[in-house]
Symmetry: C2
Subunit: 409 residues, 2 copies
Amino acid sequence: MSAAEPIRIGVLGRGTVGGAFVELLAARADAVEEATGRRPEIAGVLRRSEGSYDEILAGSEIVVELIGGTEPARDYVLRALRDGRHVVTANKQLIAQHGDELFEAAREAGVQIRFEAAVAGVIPVIRVIQESLSATEITRVFGIVNGTTNYILTEMANTGASYDDALARAQELGYAEADPSDDVGGADAAAKMAILARLAFHTAVGLEDVSFEGIEAIQPDDLAYAKQFGLSLKLLGVAERHEDEISVRVFPCFLYSGHPLAPVGGPFNAVMVESPSITEITMSGPGAGGTETAAAVLGDVVSIVAGDAPVHVARERLAVTGDVQSAFYLHLEVADRPGVLAQVAERLGANGVSVRSVVQWGIGDDARLVMVMHQCAERDFYSALGEIGKLDFLRAEPRAIRVIEEEFG
Amino acid sequence: MSAAEPIRIGVLGRGTVGGAFVELLAARADAVEEATGRRPEIAGVLRRSEGSYDEILAGSEIVVELIGGTEPARDYVLRALRDGRHVVTANKQLIAQHGDELFEAAREAGVQIRFEAAVAGVIPVIRVIQESLSATEITRVFGIVNGTTNYILTEMANTGASYDDALARAQELGYAEADPSDDVGGADAAAKMAILARLAFHTAVGLEDVSFEGIEAIQPDDLAYAKQFGLSLKLLGVAERHEDEISVRVFPCFLYSGHPLAPVGGPFNAVMVESPSITEITMSGPGAGGTETAAAVLGDVVSIVAGDAPVHVARERLAVTGDVQSAFYLHLEVADRPGVLAQVAERLGANGVSVRSVVQWGIGDDARLVMVMHQCAERDFYSALGEIGKLDFLRAEPRAIRVIEEEFG
């Protein structure tokens, strides 16, 4: 196969994720070509009512399965593997229920099957467990692997809404399906935990090995009382190894506020991996969403084509600029006399720097003035700071520290 | 090369990380063999006063460079690459200052150079940027990439300690070196950000492109005042792309409490990667430490040998157990009469379940009893719960929800 030959990709399914993948592939074709040396090309897209699987298979080097469910996905994927095609799938049920059969088929044919998007969306938990930590003794993998339930629980905790109202809101926003039972009952998280347990513990784990509970019975007053103990509620998946036994469970669970998963709110997912040699790694990010899932699928496609770790190529020539925006904290020690704040504020204003909050403390004849600015061009702030530094009522060098204004998640 | 041939690994350097790597490799030899099909074998360890580099090179397939600094590390690594050896290194200065030369040598020889351990220890940020996100348009990479300064700032904020006292404490605990200037002055973080910017933006970034400030000038009262604005202080590395320009900076910086990096305390590191198609991924974990760095190095070694993504093999046969420990929250609606709490507590105690905290509210003739238990065997708790469910003063089904007791970081 010459390096110039395109990567022919057959796409099964044209729902939200399928559509997002086709779009992302087109948008990032140059980047894929730069990363792999070959340009991606859609060999065909199989829709429910359109397209022939056999034709798409015949024209593809990599089959991307985004139909979901077990049949016909299982049949299509098995045939692709047996025919020597690499497969990328976002299908958690397929891997959780038919993993053994699929991995065996891939091994026999000498091809890859990758499924990063099947668990925790774009969070690269599969890659980290299978590659970074493959020689590490993992003792526990746990986390928030269902965004629908995490959104509902966050909403109930923040607004006091009932389970039904929070679910309705999740459905409005597209975070929950019309029939939400797989998500809210814990079956979706159970399938994902079966996959993570299998990879972390190198053992066959089926759906039947995972015990799970959902969040349907949670009452708003459970959340209210728990707040008094400093607890927040999450639907957790927990896979643990104890000597030669493992347990894999999904259950609603309170966390103390110091726990790394406690602040993970809304539809976000987060996974922690523990091992004696790494202590713990925590990874979090958006759990689902068409674009994010498509990005995870694309990462798998590129890895298949790129093979070994890409050696860094400086393919871009970007200029380095110091012309950036920041918000600032400013600490001034000043003589405590009228007009001081006005003069400082005037120097800031004249340079286009706007003040967000200010606190002044009197200390004998002196005062401390602590201000936080809104975001501005750094050079404007430093120009104002130069002028402020020359004001005659200053008692010490001004101290300026940047502030990140954004809040997240 | 037959599949049974051992992986001959030459180790340069026998300091903390070198020692931990040799030990981890021995402990995980079976796991490496299972993951790669080949058993690892130390071809030689080069110490300052012992061993010949030429001999180790001649006997090695992979050279692991753990000397640190730029010379002789650069010379050794270049010679290894040019001689067709794969290289794994934990050396940030080497990659930041001589990356172009090393990547070119690796490309020409058709070998790999991997350096996960050089940035943020065991947090797999290099792999995620280079592999999972290689076709994604990354707009920003930022985070806490120096554990020494994060420990010092956390200590100052929590205890009101001065910079000098917090530094002394960090040195006692082994989080800071005797000469801490590279860490506290920001140069260490700058080298790491140069590496991350290079990989994220596919462009050559040298140390001279990174502007940096350290934390030496931070005063305890800056932290105290900032608390009043809800701010916490971190030494942040920020690499951003704006169209055809990039900026790469390291500076102390306040974060609002809702920011995902705000709770990252002590010697921990955390990195966030942003892109329109993935929104954001946050990864956190221990920043350094001999064992953690050794685990990152071992992950790179295994990836070199394993090549393509490993197909899952169920090499273990672990039993699935339901016999697990949990702590519980218990919500009871009861008649408000004497002896109720005593009877509930008696049923718990008789089953070996101990109460951590309890709150009771009276509501007319009824009361709500909300309790949090210490960790116990789940079957003991459910046995107590069965008995409690039969008590005649209960007004509704008891509600039990698990609680994770651990706190982290």
